[in-house]
Symmetry: C2
Subunit: 164 residues, 2 copies
Amino acid sequence: MARIRTATTEAADDSGEAPAAVGRLDLGPLPNFVGYLLRRAQLLVFDDFISTMSSVGLRPASFSVLAVIGANPGSSQSAVSEVLGLQRTNLVAIIDSLEQGGFARRKAAKTDRRSHALYLTAEGKRLLSKALTLQAEHERRVLGRLSDDETQSLLRILTKLVDG
Amino acid sequence: MARIRTATTEAADDSGEAPAAVGRLDLGPLPNFVGYLLRRAQLLVFDDFISTMSSVGLRPASFSVLAVIGANPGSSQSAVSEVLGLQRTNLVAIIDSLEQGGFARRKAAKTDRRSHALYLTAEGKRLLSKALTLQAEHERRVLGRLSDDETQSLLRILTKLVDG
DNA sequence: TATTGTTATACTCTATAACTATA
DNA sequence: TATAGTTATAGAGTATAACAATA
């Protein structure tokens, strides 16, 4: 079941003036590189995700922030930005828009008056629930070409790669 | 060997004022989502790739353009941008910098005076060769946590996902 | 002194409109 | 009319510096 890949880095002809290439170009060694494949896969999946979530006004970042606040009510902006790998400075506008949409609230933190405790509103919880339904449909659509075994393997190996 | 994931979308406590979260936050359902994992993996791999290639002055896009011109001498800017999924408008500056660095040349195309035929210079070929060596080291480093079987599976499944 | 949230800012990547010269 | 290359521009995403309030 092994796929044979032909290495085409060394093109047959590149002497002096050489010929113009015809038809679809050769990607050379790129399709063998994990970085190239990850970029292509991420673009493919994000395109579907973005158009899916546009119906509820969420972007990838605001979706992940909504999910993290939902899972950790009362957490601070610093904690949310840290766990998601965002700069805390760039989280400000995301929380602003969630708050302006009526989906999240900044409350005064109990023990530290510098800090904001983040919560979802009832509307925010409904939005998260709806978004998770859309996410499941998106995932089914995007992973449709893969068998169940392949899907499980992909998630497991990516997790191993990332958690390292 | 299956990994059990606990779904934590529904947090135990979010009544009214609720408690502040302590310690590292819960990512909720995000670690189960292919889009989230692909984003994390791509950031991880690109971070290493970018710092690796900075020693030869290449970015991900200019590396891929260099590789495609190397595999398809004489091809046009439109053809290169199409196969890489770049806007042809955004390719201009990339070719500019490769040309100014002495790594690529725009020559007059034989049959169409609107078109530029792209070639690597001798220095460009040396750069590509060096970059491919660095790429191999990068890949070994980044995929180090995975077994050979896992690496092969990852590349195969990503290819299937992307080529679909 | 250090940390939380914030503003301002800058840089990269990506996307669109419009131009020119050719076809 | 359509296409190849180009310019200008605008929008995301991401990064750093600096500030006020608080610890």
